[in-house]
């Protein structure tokens, strides 16, 4: 079942069709939420809430643009970030794995010599210090591979704004990771 058919059938109340949509997007939304919040618990909660709201409101979806679910998620994340005081720490699991190595190697060791998990942790750590909108643009475009137009639609801002944020994000990442690449 393609996405358009899944949306149409879901709008008619078919749970199985909505399951197709969940399967297609739940990993993306989880990663999106995790990269933004830096917490598996929060990502889990926001992702569930996102699909719940999508399910409750799918009949209102007119143009079958499933980027809508990213919009729900980004709105929830922005709301969530305002309501929560985040500890600017790395997720516990990653810290357990590689905190010692990173503390010693982050600034000196080239990226090539780090494990994938260590690289992921450093990237994630840097993302948490990024400004909110820049972080959203980075996740959606550089990580999820969305177009600037789609990202602008999801974030309800202009493409020009997204473009500026993307340029700023690239500069920001180059500066932060210059010793590692």
């Amino acid at each position: 079942m393609d996405e358009l058919a899944a949306v149409r059938t879901s709008q008619a109340g078919d749970r199985a069709a909505f399951g197709v949509l969940i399967d297609r997007y739940y990993r993306k939304i989880y990663r999106f939420a995790y990269q933004f919040t830096g917490s598996h618990h929060d990502a889990d909660d926001v992702c569930q809430e996102t699909f719940l709201r999508a399910f409750d409101n799918i009949k209102k979806l007119k143009d079958c643009n499933w980027g809508w679910i990213f919009m729900i998620a980004s709105n929830l994340l922005r709301k969530h970030i305002k309501q929560t005081e985040y500890k600017k720490t790395l997720p516990a699991k990653l810290l357990d794995v590689a905190s010692v190595e990173v503390a010693e190697d982050e600034s000196t060791q080239p990226f090539e010599t780090l494990s994938r998990k260590e690289k992921a942790m450093i990237i994630h750590k840097q993302l948490q210090t990024m400004p909110e909108l820049m972080r959203l643009v980075t996740i959606l475009i550089l990580m999820e591979g969305l177009t600037q137009k789609d990202a602008a639609g999801i974030l309800t801002c202009s493409e020009a704004t997204v473009s500026r944020q993307l340029d700023a994000a690239r500069n920001w990442l180059r500066a932060r990771l210059q010793n590692l690449i």
């Binding site: 749970r15 909505f18 399951g19 969940i22 399967d23 739940y26 990993r27 989880y30 990663r31 995790y34 990269q35 598996h40 990502a43 889990d44 992702c47 569930q48 809430e49 699909f51 719940l52 399910f55 409750d56 699991k93 990226f111 994938r116 998990k117 690289k119 992921a120 990237i123 994630h124 980075t138 996740i139 550089l142 990580m143 999820e144 591979g145 690239r170 990442l173 180059r174 990771l177 210059q178 690449i181």
Partner: protein, 256 residues
């Protein structure tokens, strides 16, 4: 390709790779199950959230209602305090007339406006006696007949003949054409039931229809036009060897 473009390319690869490694602490399958549970069943957080919302709305309304009650109580308290310690008693004690002053009308109308807000579309009435006791009521049967843009204050002076005590004053605040029924004690072993209906006529006069009944069964009634500057005798009820007289002055309140 310049050096920045090469760096960007490398960063893109690293970002995508880092992104792809993210997964829930348990497993994707377990997380997928939690989504299904959330939407379709299990602990049904969405529905519980909705119910919580309704509960919250209910408690918010309850809080507002309680706040309204508090405001009314405070208003009545302020009114009663002003009443019992202020000019009214002094005026009654010194000149013996006990007429409604403008300040008292204002106090009564303010208190009644709070009472009115509490009861919404229903028609409340309010009685406050000179001892500071207040009573609020609603007569649902009179919703159709009460003229809710005309509020009348009737001050009743109840006294038992051959007793030297000052009269008992009762201020009745109600809409025009609304029946008010209440009971008030006159002495340790004597109480009177009063039912009255004031009507503001087209020419601005206030006509009061009253029925009074004592505990021993004696009763009387009448309809009188009541003045605003002098007490008018409304009714006399026989009580054993003496008489209970009820006089009244009345004013309309337009700014409520």
């Amino acid at each position: 390709m310049n050096i920045n473009a090469k760096k960007d390319e490398l960063i893109d690869v690293i970002l995508k790779d880092a992104h792809s490694q993210i997964q829930p602490p348990d497993s994707w399958e377990a997380f997928r199950g939690r989504i299904e549970d959330r939407i379709y069943g299990g602990d049904m957080p969405s529905i519980s959230i909705t119910r919580l919302g309704k509960d919250a709305a209910f408690w918010r309304r309850m809080t507002l209602a309680m706040a309204a009650c508090l405001v009314i109580t405070l208003a009545l308290l302020i009114y009663i305090l002003g009443y019992s310690g202020g000019n009214w008693r002094q005026e009654t004690a010194t000149d013996g007339r006990g007429l409604l002053s403008q300040a008292q009308l204002h106090q009564l109308s303010t208190a009644f406006s709070h009472v009115r807000q509490l009861f919404g579309r229903h028609c409340p009435w309010m009685v406050v006696d000179s001892g500071g006791e207040g009573e609020i009521g609603v007569d649902n049967q009179t919703i159709e007949t009460a003229v809710t843009n005309k509020v009348i204050v009737v001050r009743l002076a109840v006294n038992v003949e051959n007793q030297k005590a000052t009269p008992l004053y009762l201020d009745v605040v109600t809409f025009s054409d609304q029946q008010v029924s209440f009971r008030t004690p006159l002495a340790d072993d004597l109480a009177i039931d009063v039912s009255l209906k004031p009507v503001l006529t087209n020419v601005g006069k206030i006509v009061v229809e009253i029925k009074a009944r004592l505990d021993d069964g004696s009763q009387a009634g009448g309809v009188m036009t009541v003045a605003d500057n002098v007490f008018t005798s409304l009714v006399r009820v026989r009580s054993n060897s003496s008489w209970v007289n009820i006089d009244a002055v009345a004013r309309s309140v337009s700014n409520i």
